[in-house]
């Protein structure tokens, strides 16, 4: 556990850096708004977490893509098919998630603005996602990802602590999901996702993602997620219901499926 001197030094560090972080946050927010895209910026600085290894909160936020590798031809062909609607400026209905299939990782983190909640037990950590009311089990008992883990929508996850970073490795995916919401990037069954969770302070959680998929991409994807503690929130019920999705399609999307005739 953390001793008092360490906690005090953390408080001092927090105090001294708060102004700078706030200024940086404002700058990042302004830049993000100017670009009109990107992840939610880091929230305002907060006092240090009492225990940086305690991640058990409800978190909300989003991520940004730091680097996107060049696609190999096999992936490019699928990407072109996936984004055919986008190029025609039509609603994106080819994202499998639109039709209520599970969304995969890291797509689950930016499936709308839904929060997630982390629960830690001695042998495993659970991540509950409001989006699609789904969850992941991260095994922390020292096991490896089993060879027979394959064709999974959310993959098979193991985790370990490296200092104050919780490192989660996930593999065993199928190839049926898109990496990001509505964007079209495919992945193969060789996809491997590394997530490095770091509780920046009491109110902020950062996750650094590294995605490797050598059959589809020439190098790794890197992403950064910034998430804010939501102490007053509870996970709500959010399901993708085929009948409701169909009604939404008929109400909103089908009328727009082709340009209006003048």
């Amino acid at each position: 556990m953390i001793g008092r001197p360490r906690a005090e030094s953390r408080l001092v560090a927090w105090f001294l850096t708060s102004v700078a972080v706030l200024m940086l946050t404002s700058l990042v927010a302004a830049q993000g708004a100017a670009r009109g895209r990107g992840a939610a910026p880091p929230g305002p600085a907060a006092p240090p977490a009492e225990n940086p290894r305690d991640l058990q909160e409800v978190w909300t936020g989003n991520f940004r893509v730091d680097s996107k590798p060049k696609m190999r031809p096999v992936a490019q062909k699928i990407f072109d098919e996936n984004t055919e609607e986008l190029r025609r400026k039509l609603p994106v209905t080819k994202d499998p998630a639109f039709w209520c299939t599970p969304v995969g990782v890291p797509h689950i983190y930016n499936n709308g603005i839904h929060p997630f909640e982390i629960l830690q037990t001695p042998a495993r950590t659970f991540i509950f996602y409001e989006a699609d009311r789904t969850w992941r089990t991260v095994w922390t008992d020292g096991r490896s990802i089993p060879d027979e883990a394959e064709d999974l929508w959310m993959g098979y996850s193991i985790g370990r602590w490296e200092g104050e970073e919780f490192v989660v490795e996930t593999a065993g995916f199928n190839d049926k999901t898109w990496l990001l919401l509505g964007e079209g990037s495919p992945h193969s069954t060789k996809l491997r996702v590394t997530e490095r969770f770091r509780r920046v302070d009491r109110d902020n959680l950062q996750i650094k993602f590294t995605l490797t998929d050598p059959d589809y991409y020439e190098g790794p994807w890197t992403l950064t997620g910034n998430f804010r503690r939501q102490p007053k929130w509870e996970l709500d019920e959010t399901f993708c219901v085929p009948d409701e999705q169909k009604a939404f399609d008929q109400t909103v999307l089908t009328p727009n499926a082709a340009p209006a005739k003048k």
């Binding site: 990107g38 209905t93 998630a97 930016n110 709308g112 709500d236 019920e237 993708c240 939404f248 909103v252």
Partner: protein, 137 residues
């Protein structure tokens, strides 16, 4: 856009550069996010289902015909978190609503917190999950 202007006697077209991040939802590409349309309308129904709460309302065209609109809001979880209930808007309520219209002229639209506006009896309805309570004041 010209079709909408001609059809809606109460319509005020306001072209805006929103400059704000837009939710990366799968359907937002159906809408012209660079334009906003403001209508005076009567609420027909509010459908509180996934994936998005839908606001259905009617307005009158220049020729006096009733025109039906369906406006996409946020997910039910988000709307509940922002303080909305099924009774926040009821059939028969008269509202002034500003939203992003469909690209191709269909009578559909898109509204989000800080990206659109609904006025009911002089009070603004909001969708702010960080400041719950359906009304601005």
């Amino acid at each position: 856009m010209r079709l909408q202007t001609a059809a809606c006697c109460t319509a005020v077209i306001i072209a805006v550069l929103t400059g704000s991040p837009v939710s990366a939802h799968h359907s937002s590409s159906a809408y012209d996010l660079s334009k906003s349309l403001t209508l005076e309308a009567t609420v027909a129904s509010v459908v509180f289902t996934n994936p998005h709460v839908m606001l259905h309302f009617d307005t009158k065209t220049d020729s006096g015909e009733i025109q039906h609109w369906a406006i996409e809001t946020n997910n039910p979880s988000v709307m509940r978190r922002a303080g909305w209930t099924k009774d926040t808007l009821k059939a028969g309520d008269h509202v002034t609503i500003t939203f992003h219209p469909a690209i191709n002229g269909a009578t559909t639209g898109y509204i989000r917190n800080n990206d659109g506006k609904i006025m009911l009896n002089g009070r603004q309805l909001k969708f702010d999950v960080n400041n719950p309570g359906a009304f601005e004041n």
